[in-house]
């Protein structure tokens, strides 16, 4: 087994008086797409925010490629090569599409601009609306921009939170295609309620329930396991 790119060891996170993560253990293998599944309130998004340092862990250990990152600030974690796409399409509305990309580029090198060519192939409409303010884009476009913006840097780990939320099925299909391309180039952790999407992108999965990992394995096994899906995800 290869060295994990990210580990969480007995991580506890509190938000106010609420004890959200209650000892989460994760081991994320590199160059794969791992999906975090679970019902609403299970702690999936909080897990991503804790990894990113936005909702710091109260206790436990988080390592990125062997380095402890639990006490680092979000901007320091980002500088170590972790990209984050929040669940609320957090593009900057007052900036143009171009400015959103320039904002995301930690170094505006030739290599970064070369990646833009790939991005334009994946999301051609972003090129079309290059000079438009992000606030006037449709919901699907904003989600594309948020994902593409995280992909513009040479990240070693991408955290993507519910990219399909609120999107029409036709846009979800386009998103699946794009994310499958992205996962071939970097390690992805995806939080997703839409099992159709999760199963078409992830190769590994972790199921969270009440702030703990209750099951993990290979996605192809979960697709076949109706009992497990019914028990933890509420789908038959």
């Amino acid at each position: 087994m290869s060295e994990p790119i990210l580990t969480l060891d007995k991580v506890h996170t509190r938000i106010g008086r609420h004890h959200i993560l209650q000892g989460v253990d994760l081991r994320i293998e590199p160059d794969r797409a791992t999906v975090l599944l679970g019902r609403n309130g299970a702690g999936k998004s909080t897990t991503l925010r804790t990894i990113m340092g936005l909702t710091p862990a109260a206790s436990g250990r988080i390592t990125l490629a062997g380095r402890a990152i639990g006490s680092l600030k979000p901007y320091e974690i980002a500088r170590l090569g972790v990209g984050f796409v929040p669940e609320d399409q957090a593009v900057i509305y007052s900036l143009t599409v171009e400015e959103n990309f320039r904002l995301a580029m930690l170094a505006e090198s030739d290599r970064t601009w070369a990646r833009m060519e790939t991005i334009f192939e994946l999301f051609p409409d972003l090129k079309r609306f290059w000079r438009a303010r992000a606030g006037v884009l449709s919901g699907g476009q904003k989600q594309m921009l948020a994902i593409a913006r995280a992909f513009v840097n040479d990240h070693r780990l991408l955290l993507i939170d519910e990219p399909s939320k609120g999107l029409a099925p036709i846009i979800v299909d386009h998103l699946i295609e794009s994310l499958n391309h992205i996962k071939d180039q970097t390690t992805v952790i995806l939080v997703e309620q839409n099992f159709y999407m999760a199963s078409r992108i992830g190769s590994e999965y972790f199921i969270l329930d009440d702030g703990r990992v209750v099951h993990q394995g290979r996605m192809e096994d979960l697709v076949e396991d109706e009992g497990l899906k019914q028990r933890y995800l509420g789908i038959a």
Binding site: P74, A78, R102, S138
Partner: protein, 339 residues
């Protein structure tokens, strides 16, 4: 239907028609209506005076609107930075005068005197801004009531320190020789320092726009205003950026203070509070957070004040409030304010 069609409701949000119409009506009215009652030569003299006053107001208001718009901080200590700038500029001019540079100097020495006074004010304002943001303001982000109370307290303390250091009495500010008196251009008498004020204001406007709209730093700052969390997650230290914005705003106020001190040829410890009221009116007219709005607001106030002071002197002070009331009735967000 295109998969990526632009959301129609979003298009409506951006509609600039009403905003532009309001700006044009008020701006054109203030510029040209006085020509009905004032002869063209006097009108030109008053216009230059109004532009100069507007540019000086803009210097202070631009810092205030930057700090509010970008950091969501109501900084009532802004006038204190202005007053400190005035006193620092006054001190530098006094020191340079003892070298014979100010009242009797050459054009180069006069220009250098003003530049050194402005640079000193910029530096002192900037350092004070950094200290106050780090020690005090940082603790009250996201709480407007606490911001108002604490910045009022800071303002009082800074004004009292001025009295301790420079004394409580009014002081006369020296005007460098090259900027004393007036030029006569085709019967239009133009005060020399007012031309310099217009040039400095124009440079600050251009510089601010260049940084905010054309640089990576400007993009980061504008993004930080809208969503601090995303900007942090993209790899930027938002706290440090906000300290920089506060520093820049305070430095601009201090520069405005030095220019105002030379313009009015006198300073006093309470001048910060008096100017803060003007700056607040300008920022409200322009729209909170908009640098261009502040510029338009400052020019409007400067011009209207001078025209009305000539036509109906007793109404000169009230005209600023009147403009603010009209603009707020037409457009409650101010000329260029955002939702």
């Amino acid at each position: 239907m295109s998969l990526m069609a632009v959301a129609p409701e979003a298009e409506k949000r951006t509609g600039p028609g009403a905003r532009k119409t309001a700006i044009w009506i008020v701006s054109v009215g203030i510029w040209f209506l006085p020509l009905v009652w004032i002869d063209p030569t006097t009108y030109l003299v008053l216009t230059v005076a109004g532009l100069a006053m507007g540019m000086l107001l803009f210097l202070t208001a631009s810092g205030l609107t930057l700090i509010f718009g970008l950091m969501d901080v109501l900084n009532l200590a802004h006038g204190a930075f202005f007053a400190w700038g005035a006193y620092v500029g006054f001190t530098i001019l006094e020191a340079l005068n003892s070298l014979g540079w100010v009242e009797t100097g050459t054009f180069g020495q006069s220009l250098l005197s003003v530049l050194l006074a402005l640079l000193a004010a910029l530096a002192v304002g900037g350092v004070l801004g950094v200290v106050i943001e780090r020690v005090i303001i940082r603790r009250v982000y996201d709480n407007h009531l606490k911001q108002i109370l604490i910045t009022m307290g800071v303002s009082l303390v800074m004004a009292e320190i001025i009295k301790v250091v420079w004394g409580p009495n009014d002081e006369v500010t020296l005007v460098p020789a090259a900027f004393m008196g007036s030029l006569d251009l085709f019967d239009v008498v133009i005060n020399k320092f007012r031309l310099l004020a217009i040039a400095v204001g124009g440079l600050v406007l251009a510089g601010t726009f260049l940084v905010l709209k054309r640089t990576k730093l400007g993009i980061i700052v504008r993004a930080g205003v809208e969503n601090k969390e995303v900007v942090q997650a993209l790899g930027y230290n938002v706290k440090r950026i906000f300290t920089g914005v506060f520093c820049a705003g305070a430095a601009l106020a201090a520069v405005g203070g030095t220019m105002w001190a030379i313009f009015k040829e006198q300073i006093h410890p309470a001048m910060g509070d008096e100017n803060l009221i003007f700056a607040l009116i300008v920022v409200i007219i322009g729209g909170l957070g908009s640098v261009m709005g502040s510029f338009l607001g400052a020019i409007m106030v400067g011009l209207a004040f001078n025209y009305v002071a000539f036509l109906v002197p007793k109404l000169a002070l009230g005209v600023n409030i009147l403009i603010m009331a009209i603009i707020l009735l037409l457009r409650p967000k101010g000329l260029l304010g955002q939702d």
